[in-house]
């Protein structure tokens, strides 16, 4: 079927840069894969939530079900960093998830599924410099579900805070320590302190699969670069 529309259960153009098998073999593996990569999870989403949603694509009467879930962790902190692998017993279940669940919400975020070559040791960890996923290195938005600012932005944020903190290390106390500077004209208050900006979710998180796929490709290009 499907001459008229493209099916949703095709694997994306992602390729695992650290895999050693060649592309033809990769494609063969994908064609019977029982494992899904799940992306754009909140750091707070639990395996049980994932289990609940993905069970809806399971076919236990056909010998299927959820075999295991491997939570993606930050290499350094060993905390969830927003992705996981869901492994089923059958290929059909993985395809069903691609068709029915990918692009819907879990824990109020639009998650993305992709057929995966299968879990191998080490893949549970983020490949970004900070220990998390590479996509969270460069993220420019504030995403409360994924640790606030992106890692680079976070580093800049910490740097900025340290500058602010260090700046007044030499502050004195006692009379005359604080300048008077004149009076009368009153300045508008509140300028200068950092108010936590509450920004909406970045459009790319909500975007269609294709955008997500691209960013994931970049992620691994980046991992290579390290």
């Amino acid at each position: 079927m499907a001459h008229v529309v493209a099916p949703l259960d095709q694997p994306s153009n992602y390729k695992d840069s650290q895999t050693r098998v060649d592309r033809r073999v990769q494609n063969d593996l994908l064609a019977k894969s029982t494992t899904l990569y799940i992306g754009n999870l909140s750091f707070y989403t639990t395996e049980e939530q994932i289990y609940e949603l993905f069970t809806k694509c399971a076919s236990p009467e056909d010998g299927g079900g959820i075999k295991r879930i491997i939570m993606g962790l930050d290499r350094n902190t060993r905390t969830p960093c927003g992705f996981c692998f869901v492994e089923y017993y059958t290929h059909a279940e993985a395809l069903a998830s691609m068709r029915y669940v990918s692009g819907t919400k879990l824990d109020e975020r639009i998650i993305r599924c992709d057929l995966d070559l299968g879990y191998r040791e080490g893949r549970q960890f983020g490949r970004g410099k900070s220990g998390g996923q590479v996509r969270d290195e460069h993220r420019q938005d504030y995403d409360p579900g994924r640790g606030g600012w992106g890692a680079q932005a976070q580093r800049m944020e910490i740097e900025r805070r340290r500058e602010v903190e260090e700046r007044y290390q030499d502050a004195q106390d006692g009379p005359g320590a604080v300048a008077g500077g004149g009076g009368d004209w009153k300045e508008a208050e509140g300028a200068g302190n950092e108010s936590r900006l509450k920004r909406g979710r970045s459009p790319e998180d909500e975007g269609d699969g294709r955008l997500g796929q691209r960013s994931r490709l970049e992620e691994d290009v980046d991992a290579e670069r390290m």
Partner: protein, 886 residues
């Protein structure tokens, strides 16, 4: 892949060296381009595009008929909403033009002749949907006067002939009947004038079949009346019933209404000149018999182990009045419903495109069928009696399809996903339709809405809300908190919230509720997040120290054998303790060990798996009742204790109970039969867990446990069957190869050896093992099914001596009892729900139950021989209908 976009699809992909860029456009040959243009015809404006596409087809050289007919075939079977326009296009291609020579068959006729071959291929494969849609196309072509009425009648009658086959299955008959009915609806205006008699024959054939197939209907109607055999129900319609009624209505007015139910863009075309044109005679066909796969596998007690999913009558719930959404019993209403169902079915591969096409559906209907879009540019005059709401119609149809009993055609999550996409596409129009549907469904709760439909409703509700910020106006249901705690409305609220929490978390969901529902006395949501409950956590609790010692071994990753020996020591200590010793030290030790292990594994699903895997030897030892090395099926009491300990540990979290049970079965610590037995009997020991403590009865949660166990048992048989088939084929291939090479080696082969090889094919060791596994798994399957049936029998027709009988199981199935439901309390509603799950068990597992029906009947029902107990009667009757004996 899509030939719409890039032609050749898979064939092309192989030529590409760059596997990464699947998105790159590939070369499309001119023939592919033409094919795609035909498939895309009408996407913008079919009337405008018609002369253009005709020209494009006529001007294309070289003429390759097969390419053109393939385009038509794809278009007709994948875009049924465009079929009338393709009929118009094919009609135009029958005209002779100035450029084209008039002698010889027209382009259109050649395409039609080739199209027929494709139809024949669909029919040979019994691809019912494609077959049916081709019949639509032929029926339109008959009205367009391209196909002879005689041959069209013959085609329809080869489908009604199926209905008279001896022992025809319900599924096959239903599909054949719908093919004939729909063909006649469309072709009627020209068929009836040619032979009113043959029209009657077709209708009567369908009617006769429908009249004969009533008993399964009582078991699949979504609004239940346990006391009656009545099959018509005010809020639901059965598919074949609606087809017949629509057909009868059309027939009464000599098919005048066809023109107002189906587009006929070809209707105004002049007749072809019959001096040069002869009508096409569709070749006669025979609907091929169903292929019965014979793998010759039977259970060790000789039962046929084949699973044939028997198809049931299809009831669709109706949610709205007939002025809001069409009545499917009318010709126009039937057309709209099947039109939407076809889109839903065909575009299952891409729910987003499916949603888009559904929203665009009015484009393919008679103008005025649906209310115009607010602010839309086209304002057709509303047709009296129509002017329906598109979104309500779509949602009603999708929900109807997703609530079909015993199971929907696709997984529930597909229908849920389409509704989500529809809401995203047009929130302001689809949102209200969804809200109204929820309220309507909710109002059916307690009025007979089937328990399985109620369960799917709760599931849809939770997933839908999870996609839309959990925004539901709960406060409108506050007054219902006055209903009995087990009233289906209250059970629904609890269940929907429980499902929401599983997808989200307790505090998030709690916040969405009004104070009345948050309050503990509202009994709607738990006060706290559903965490684990380690019985020995509190130092003041008995056996705290003993449990700590076990826990410490687990924490220190002690070896299984050390834990086992520690448990043995502990048992001796407990048995000989100062306070006179423990009555059941075995059970206590099991409880301590299992709860401690689950405690270690309570942080996440993965932790659970790790804990189980690390201590498999320990778990097996416990399951075998301590008899080390016993192996095999273990000790029933010990396994029940394991399940009880697990359920007690997770008593505040039923999701986790189901997960732990599933994995205990997966790792073969317990068997499905153990879970079934536990669910009926021991489950009542844990009061927090169950909504139906007290008298024996089942709620949706217990049903989920049963279903988990039965599916596991059935799934294992399925895997074993596949394995045997694969190994057998390998064996056969090897033998054939050996024989072939032997034959090649020398003609003077030893005759004796030849005979020996033929007579006694020896199975490979792998196949022997697989056959053994198959035998024991079918045994387990039969055991689990039998145990379930037995459990239901003792719940619903309890004997005087049964412990804890529900005194109401007989009351709720009487008409007076049901009419008195306003005064029902917990026990009555529990009994009613249990009857509902029994029905679901029978109809949903019928394909498996059939294989064992004789034995199971004898085992469970023999005791009712000669009994007039109404409960026993209803149990047997339901069973007989499900297993096809009534």
């Amino acid at each position: 892949m899509s030939s719409y976009h890039r032609g050749g699809g898979n064939r092309r992909r192989q030529h590409r060296d760059d596997y990464d860029d699947r998105r790159r456009d590939v070369y499309e040959s001119p023939a592919d381009k033409l094919k795609n243009a035909i498939i895309k015809f009408g996407d913008v404006d079919a009337v405008e595009e018609l002369p253009l596409i005709e020209k494009q087809i006529r001007e294309f050289t070289p003429v390759v008929i097969s390419n053109l007919s393939e385009a038509f075939r794809i278009a007709v079977t994948e875009q049924p909403f465009k079929i009338p326009h393709y009929a118009a296009l094919l009609r135009r291609l029958h005209d002779s033009t100035e450029d084209a020579p008039t002698d010889g068959p027209s382009l259109g006729k050649q395409i039609l002749e080739d199209f027929w071959k494709g139809f024949q291929a669909y029919l040979d494969k019994l691809a019912w949907r494609e077959t049916r849609l081709c019949i639509h196309f032929f029926a339109h072509l008959t009205v367009a006067k391209l196909i002879s009425t005689d041959s069209m009648f013959a085609l329809l009658q080869s489908f009604t002939a199926v209905l008279e086959e001896f022992g025809v299955s319900n599924g096959r008959a239903k599909k054949a009947a719908v093919c004939a009915a729909e063909g006649l609806m469309i072709g009627g205006p020209i068929l009836k004038p040619s032979s009113a008699e043959r029209v009657q024959e077709v209708i009567n054939g369908i009617q006769a079949y429908n009249d004969s197939a009533t008993s399964p209907k009582a078991l699949t109607r979504p609004i239940v009346e346990l006391y009656s055999d009545e099959i018509s129900t005010p809020n639901a319609d059965e598919l074949l019933d609606t087809a017949l009624q629509a057909l009868r209505t059309l027939d009464e007015s000599d098919f005048a209404e066809t023109a107002s139910s189906f587009l006929q863009p070809y209707a105004t075309y002049p007749d072809l000149d019959l001096s040069t044109f002869t009508l096409y005679d569709l070749p006669s066909v025979l609907v091929p018999p169903e292929v019965i796969e014979l793998d010759g596998l039977s259970t060790d007690s000789g039962e046929d182990a084949q699973v044939k999913k028997e198809e049931w009558p299809e009831y669709f719930l109706s949610l709205f009045e007939n002025d809001i959404t069409p009545d499917p019993k009318t010709p126009a209403g039937y057309t709209v419903r099947t039109g939407i169902l076809d889109i839903l079915d065909i575009f299952e591969v891409n729910r987003k495109e499916c949603a888009r096409l559904l929203i665009e559906y009015p484009k393919w209907t008679i103008p005025g069928t649906f209310k115009p879009k607010p602010g839309g540019s086209v304002n057709a005059d509303p047709v009296p009696g129509r002017d329906w709401q598109l979104e309500s119609t779509i949602i009603e149809t999708i929900l109807g399809a997703s609530f079909v009993l015993p199971e929907s055609c696709h997984k529930s999550i597909y229908y849920i996903g389409v509704i989500t996409e529809l809401c995203k596409l047009s929130p302001s129009t689809v949102g209200p339709a969804v809200g109204k549907s929820i309220r309507k469904l909710y109002s059916n709760l307690g009025e007979g809405l089937d328990v399985e439909v109620a369960r799917r409703f709760a599931e849809w509700f939770a997933v839908h809300m999870s996609n839309f910020g959990f925004q539901w106006v709960w406060k409108e249901w506050i007054p219902d908190l006055a209903l009995d705690i087990q009233h289906p409305k209250r059970a629904f609220m609890r269940r929907a919230l429980e499902f929401e929490i599983r997808l989200s978390y307790h505090d998030r969901i709690l916040k969405t509720l009004p104070a009345e529902m948050q309050a503990p006395e509202g009994h709607t949501i738990g006060e706290q997040a559903p965490g684990p409950d380690f019985e020995y956590d509190d130092p003041a609790k008995p056996y705290h120290d003993a449990a700590q010692s076990v826990l410490n071994l687990f924490r220190g990753r002690a070896e299984a054998k050390d834990v086992i020996s520690h448990l043995e020591t502990l048992k001796v200590t407990l048995e000989t303790s100062d306070d006179g010793g423990i009555v059941n030290a075995d059970a206590l030790i099991r409880n301590i060990a299992i709860q401690s292990l689950l405690h270690i594994g309570s942080r996440s699903f993965s932790h659970l798996l790790n804990a189980i895997e690390r201590y498999l030897a320990l778990l097996r030892s416990i399951a075998s009742g301590g008899a080390s090395g016993a192996g095999g099926t273990g000790n029933a009491e010990a396994k029940a204790d394991i399940l009880t300990a697990s359920a007690a540990f997770w008593k505040h979290n039923r999701h986790m109970v189901a997960i732990v049970f599933d994995k205990l079965m997966q790792y073969q610590i317990v068997d499905p039969t153990d879970v079934v037995g536990w669910t009926f009997i021991n489950r009542a020991e844990i009061r927090e867990l169950s909504e139906s403590t007290g008298p024996l009865s089942l709620s949706a949660f217990e049903w989920d446990l049963l279903k988990g166990a039965l599916d596991k048992a059935n799934g294992r048989v399925m895997i074993a069957r596949r394995k045997v088939a694969t190994l057998r084929k390998e064996d056969d291939d090897n033998r054939a190869r050996a024989k072939a090479s032997g034959g090649a080696d020398g003609n003077a082969m030893d005759v004796d050896a030849d005979v020996k090889a033929d007579d006694a094919p020896v199975d490979s060791p792998a196949l022997t093992t697989a056959l053994k596994a198959f035998a024991s798994l079918t045994r387990e399957q039969k055991g689990a099914l039998s145990r379930t049936l037995d459990g239901f029998v003792s719940c619903l027709a309890p004997g005087a001596t049964d412990s804890n009988p529900n005194p109401h199981s007989r009351v709720v199935i009487s008409e007076e009892g049901w009419n008195d439901r306003a005064s029902w309390e917990k026990d009555q509603w529990n009994a009613w729900e249990t009857w509902g799950w029994y029905r679901q068990f029978c109809r949903s597992y019928a394909p498996y139950l059939r294989n064992y029906s004789t034995t199971l009947f004898t085992v469970s029902f023999a005791k009712f021989e000669g009994s007039t107990d109404p409960a026993a009667e209803l149990l047997k009757k339901t069973w007989n209908v499900a297993t096809g004996q009534e």
